[in-house]
């Protein structure tokens, strides 16, 4: 009988976890955002390939985070990795919503990579690296930074929703992957000048961008794990507000840079740059969205977009081919986000505490953590990609790359010609109205 139950505690717990589960659903949907952002940004001959990769990320992530990842991240163990709850065995019931939420994070970290290595990665190699990221590389970083036992958490730094833990890990892995894989054929001409390889459908990119922004809002808001303390709701709302401000600051700044900067692009109002800028804004506010004022969020987002544009330019100069700018967005903005957190945090930052030693220590600790995370990810992912490359499992053959991956590997061209066209003579440039009238008389 429910009327005699001790309600308060129960409702508090339930509310928190129900909140996780629902927001987790929205974050889960973000996978679709990545998939379409990437699908629209590549050529039509590789569309099925990129879609199946993004879909498989969801499943591989679920299985490997269930089997190993969660244990390494949140099982009790050493300050460096956890050793409990493999296959979720022995996990207390209250851990389930926690698993669900962190699984969608893990899947995000590994999905980021697929954009950077698009159009040339072998499917087998993809299956391997995706499992290693969600089972090993990412969980260890999570353990350091977010598990009560992790060594980074002992310090005073903070990364609220994963500027470094999720986005830097994804971004650095993208960078090492793209570097080891080498550019797509035709991306740079003989003189090393970059040639634009446009994506085949801008609307799909926009669809992906919209879904991603939606999902990332959920991502940040959902990172407020406890919403039932006094004022928990308002803090969650503050996060949403800050995310909106950073997103706007980023998107508009990138848009204006592209339009006004003489050396970048054709001075056009670019949709793709605008979307990447707004993503960079959200990525950078992850670390601090619960503890900055909206004006600071706007500023952080604007700077993040500038950082994204610069990183993108640098990578291009270094002849690293990243079709989605994944490294520039996630690593570039992620690094800035972790640095911005101890500067703008309205409780503990340098400016708000009057340059105390503690606030400088927080700043230093964030930098140290960031360095360690980048180092760890760079080394492990570098080794992994190096080995894959060494054994010839990383890149498809030249013929397949030139002709496209969809047909030989997946047997499913994205837009089979045979499925197009009707028999009503509408396919030429006939006047639509006339042909409708023609038809009615029939």
């Amino acid at each position: 009988n429910t009327t005699t139950h001790p309600y308060n505690v129960v409702t508090n717990e339930n509310l928190n976890e129900v909140f996780h589960v629902i927001i987790g659903m929205i974050v889960f949907f973000m996978q679709a955002g990545f998939a379409f952002l990437e699908a629209g940004s590549i050529r039509s001959k590789n569309t099925t390939n990129i879609l199946v990769k993004n879909l498989m990320d969801v499943f591989i992530g679920a299985v490997s985070f269930w089997a190993i990842g969660y244990a390494l991240a949140f099982g009790k163990g050493t300050p460096f990795f956890g050793t409990e709850y493999f296959f979720l065995i022995g996990l207390p019931l209250t851990g389930y919503s926690y698993w669900w939420y962190h699984y969608v994070y893990a899947a995000t970290a590994s999905t980021i990579v697929s954009g950077a290595v698009a159009e040339r990665t072998a499917f087998g190699g993809y299956l391997i690296y995706s499992s290693i990221i969600t089972a090993f590389i990412y969980p260890i970083v999570v353990h350091w930074a977010w598990d009560p036992q992790g060594w980074l958490l002992y310090g005073v730094g903070k990364d609220f929703a994963g500027s470094s833990v999720v986005h830097c890990v994804g971004g650095v892995t993208s960078l090492t992957g793209a570097f080891i894989l080498g550019p797509r054929i035709g991306r740079f001409d003989e003189n090393g000048k970059p040639k634009t390889i446009p994506g085949h459908t801008v609307p799909l990119v926009a669809l992906g961008g919209f879904i991603l922004i939606f999902g990332l809002f959920g991502f940040n808001v959902g990172s407020q794990f406890r919403v039932t303390f006094y004022g928990g709701g308002p803090v969650a709302a503050l996060i949403a507000v800050n995310t909106a401000m950073a997103c706007s600051g980023g998107g508009l700044t990138a848009l204006l840079i592209k339009r006004l900067h003489p050396k970048i692009g054709g001075n056009s109002w670019s949709l793709l740059v605008c979307l990447n800028g707004s993503l960079a804004g959200i990525v950078s506010i992850c670390a601090s969205c619960n503890a900055v004022y909206p004006w600071a969020a706007l500023l952080i987002g604007a700077i993040a977009a500038t950082a994204y544009v610069c990183w993108s330019e640098i990578f291009l100069r270094c002849k690293i081919d990243d079709p989605l700018d994944a490294a520039a967005v996630h690593m570039g903005a992620g690094i800035w986000g972790v640095i911005a957190q101890p500067i703008f945090n309205f409780k503990t930052s340098i400016f708000y505490t009057g340059f105390t030693a503690l606030s400088w220590a927080r700043f230093g600790w964030n930098l140290l953590g960031l360095g360690c995370i980048i180092l760890w990810t760079g080394l492990t992912s570098g080794l992994m990609f190096y080995l894959l490359n060494k054994f010839g499992m990383f890149r498809v053959s030249e013929e397949i790359e030139l002709k496209g991956l969809d047909l030989p590997i997946h047997g499913e061209p994205a837009y089979p010609r045979a499925a197009y066209g009707s028999g009503w003579g509408m396919d030429d440039d006939y006047d639509v109205e006339e042909s409708i009238i023609l038809l009615k008389q029939r």
């Binding site: 589960v21 996978q31 969801v58 679920a62 919503s97």
Partner: protein, 472 residues
């Protein structure tokens, strides 16, 4: 699913509630229903795009409007009679109260909302199997019949406290948590009957009866549909946990989410690898197979996702992925044309899901009770219920499709089928040629960069010159 929900619905009719905390609890429950119900509602988009991408471009508008209309017709018919048949008290066979929602007590509204989106799901499943050849009017009729009659009565049996399957026998009552049999089984069975009565699309089988591939026109739409369906179906399972106020209710909800995604993963990965590795198949890493495996996996743990361990969910999903491949092969062998594999996905998942539930349930399953008498009784009752539901569905939908066929309303004319439905019936070709192309000379395969560079400076000058002119 519905025990707790319906109890809430029937108990709380008083507007005066001395228990403020109770109010809070009821509100939390209501909000949970509504929000998750909204996400499940979004699943209609998933079905629409899964199907739109899988048909030929000449029938795209047709399949999209069907999916729009069935959620609208579903709302009206479930409001008018469907809910009354399903949850309007009544006898063991059918409900008899709350027609047009008249006199529905307050908490019943959120319950209606959730159940409406389930009913719309059951109806949507069918449209895939009958795609590219069914008449639009006939579609209007059958989606109304399914949501107002066939599905509601089946769900009355199994989910209403008055239903005979729910009452059960001493020691056993029907266990289908979120509708493996009730939603996917009913939808899949209607799909099978519909596909049987309609016959295959022209050109699907050659003279010797060998199948010919009729590929869908846009793989990205299929993928979009698949992603949205995964999002929606997981929420679907979660939302079926109707109360969220008890101790440890929330963890159980999370468990449902975990089981759903693991089952989906199992199904997708097994189907993918089977297609890749089985010597008689085409050895491709196939996206469509992967998506169908995913849906089959999630649908097959609907029945049991609240009461199995994650490893069991993975296993159930994996087996579902395998059975999907077998069903898909068998359906083709019988020369049934199902453009979306809706039968192999949903009917298969419905049947296997109910069996799996009786095996792996950690309280009543055969494996956990060491095959004692109670668990066999439970198993038997579940199978009986499944049989009853499928028989009911096939009989009623068979009758419906038979009448439609006899009156000539079932299938479009041969000319329209070959030339496509969009233009003559809907007047809206999905991709009108006339609206494509620009005047900037990018159309031909000119080198992109050059042409952009070539165009921009002069354009900007022209443009600015013109602005200046108009300002003067």
């Amino acid at each position: 699913m519905s025990t707790s929900g319906i109890l809430i619905a029937s108990n709380v009719t008083s507007t005066k509630n001395p228990w403020q905390l109770n109010t809070l609890e009821y509100n939390v429950i209501g909000i949970f229903h509504i929000v998750t119900g909204l996400i499940v509602f979004f699943m209609q988009t998933g079905f629409a795009f899964l199907e739109a991408g899988s048909v030929r471009s000449k029938n795209t508008t047709n399949i999209l409007i069907k999916n729009v209309v069935d959620m609208l017709i579903g709302a009206i018919s479930y409001w008018a009679v469907g809910y009354a048949f399903a949850f309007g008290d009544g006898n063991t066979f059918i409900g008899t109260k709350y027609f047009l929602l008249i006199n529905l007590p307050g908490p019943g509204y959120s319950f209606w909302w959730c159940n409406y989106v389930y009913a719309a799901t059951a109806a949507s499943i069918v449209s895939g199997a009958v795609a590219e050849r069914i008449k639009f009017t006939s579609y209007l009729v059958y989606s109304a019949v399914i949501t107002s009659f066939i599905y509601p009565i089946a769900s009355h049996w199994a989910w209403d406290p008055h239903g005979w399957l729910m009452i059960g026998v001493p020691g056993a009552s029907y266990q289908d948590f979120s509708g493996s049999s009730l939603i996917h089984g009913v939808g899949g069975m209607c799909a099978l009957i519909g596909a049987l009565f309609l016959g295959p699309r022209l050109g699907r089988f050659d003279k010797n009866g060998n199948p010919k591939n009729l590929p869908g026109h846009t793989v990205p739409f299929v993928a979009l549909g698949g992603f949205i369906l995964a999002f929606g179906l997981i929420t679907f399972n979660v939302s079926s946990y109707f109360r969220v106020n008890g101790s440890l209710d929330a963890p159980k909800i999370a468990l449902i989410g975990i089981n759903s995604i693991l089952a989906g993963s199992g199904g997708a990965i097994v189907a993918l690898f089977t297609k890749r590795l089985h010597p008689k198949l085409s050895n491709h890493w196939s996206l469509l197979t992967c998506i169908n495996g995913l849906i089959t996996g999630i649908a097959s743990v609907c029945a049991s996702c609240n009461s199995i361990y994650p490893w069991a969910a993975l296993l159930i999903g994996a087996i579902a992925g395998l059975t999907f491949m077998v069903w898909s092969w068998a359906i083709l062998k019988f020369r049934i044309d199902d453009p979306l594999d809706a039968i192999s996905v949903h009917l298969n998942a419905g049947i296997w899901g109910m069996i799996a539930q009786s095996l792996f349930n950690f309280k009543t399953g055969l494996f956990y009770r060491h095959m004692d008498k109670t668990s066999w009784l439970q198993f038997g009752w579940n199978m009986l219920g499944l049989l009853a539901i499928l028989t009911w569905t096939s009989a009623t939908s068979g009758l419906m499709f038979l009448i439609l066929k006899k009156t000539g309303y079932l299938r479009v004319s041969e000319e329209i089928e070959i030339k496509g439905l969009d233009v003559p019936i809907h007047g809206e070709p999905a991709y009108p040629r006339i609206s494509y192309g620009s005047g900037w000379g990018i159309e031909s395969d000119v080198e992109m960069d050059t042409s952009v560079l070539m165009l921009l400076p002069s354009d900007n000058e022209d443009n600015e010159a013109r602005v200046v002119k108009s300002q003067n």
